[in-house]
């Protein structure tokens, strides 16, 4: 069984595209980690460093979301479109990041070394962190399933499940 290059990517629920799910999970993990990076930026370069770090984190998270949106949107059309969207998306996103940084580089609050290092650290750090939670198996193609939470049984659960013969012996 095979699909042509111009058929939509198969067996995918449109609302739960794998890229979107991974990107949203990256954002979910990146938002709580952001204050740590902002704090490090503040320690290095004061308020300018904190603002630059925050800007870099916003760029990284926006880049992930845009990449996922482009790929998922192209996969609805055809596999060939995925190829084009990813390659031209790569160029477009690089241009967007370059434009965003060049647009703010002369502003007073920008500390370029902190901004640049935060870009790399946030991007790579989030990706390495995410790999711990990616399943990529046929059963769970995106994220590992959540572990079932252990609930404490009610205090009379044991008595309720005890066979009636045991209760009569007592």
């Amino acid at each position: 069984m095979s699909a042509g290059l111009f058929t939509p990517a198969p067996s995918l629920d449109l609302e739960r595209a794998p890229e979107t799910e991974i990107a949203l999970d990256l954002v979910r993990r990146g938002l709580p980690a952001a204050p740590v990076l902002v704090l490090v930026g503040a320690l290095v370069a004061g308020t300018d460093g904190a603002l630059s770090a925050a800007f870099a984190i916003a760029l990284v998270l926006g880049n992930f979301l845009l990449s996922a949106t482009l790929t998922a949107g192209a996969a609805r059309i055809s596999l060939g479109m995925v190829m084009g969207a990813v390659l031209f998306g790569y160029l477009a996103r690089l241009a967007l990041i370059t434009g965003a940084v060049l647009a703010v580089k002369d502003m007073g609050w920008v500390h370029l070394p902190v901004l640049g290092l935060t870009l790399i650290v946030a991007h790579l750090g989030l990706l390495f962190w995410e790999t711990r939670y990616v399943s990529a198996s046929l059963a769970f193609p995106t994220l590992k399933p959540a572990r079932p939470t252990r609930t404490t049984p009610p205090p009379n659960a044991q008595a309720a499940t005890r066979p009636p013969s045991a209760a009569t012996k007592e």
Binding site: S11, A23, N63, V82, M83, A136, P141
Partner: protein, 88 residues
């Protein structure tokens, strides 16, 4: 004479500025070529895999997305080198 020396000094500064611009441009350009080739190869293989085995498309796309993001980090490193060389 002094004017000539001043002109020569200005030309030297211009040369240094031009060299900085060239080297930072090359750093970014060369750093973007490698990941571009890598992403093209990666997505090509992923598309082939999805066409051959459609039931594994979700798994392939997950791996492809992470691979693209990891490869893109190389271009980001080149970009950071560029802005640090050029503007910092």
């Amino acid at each position: 004479m002094i004017e000539l020396l001043a002109q020569a000094a200005a030309t030297g500064e211009d040369t240094i500025a031009a060299s900085e611009a060239l080297s930072s441009g090359f750093a970014y350009g060369l750093a973007a070529i490698g990941p571009g080739i890598g992403i093209g190869y990666l997505v090509g293989q992923a598309v082939t895999a999805m066409a051959r085995q459609p039931e594994a498309a979700g798994m392939v796309r997950t791996t492809m997305f992470l691979g693209i993001a990891f490869t893109e980090a190389l271009a980001l490193i080149g970009f950071v080198v560029f802005i640090l060389l050029k503007f910092a």
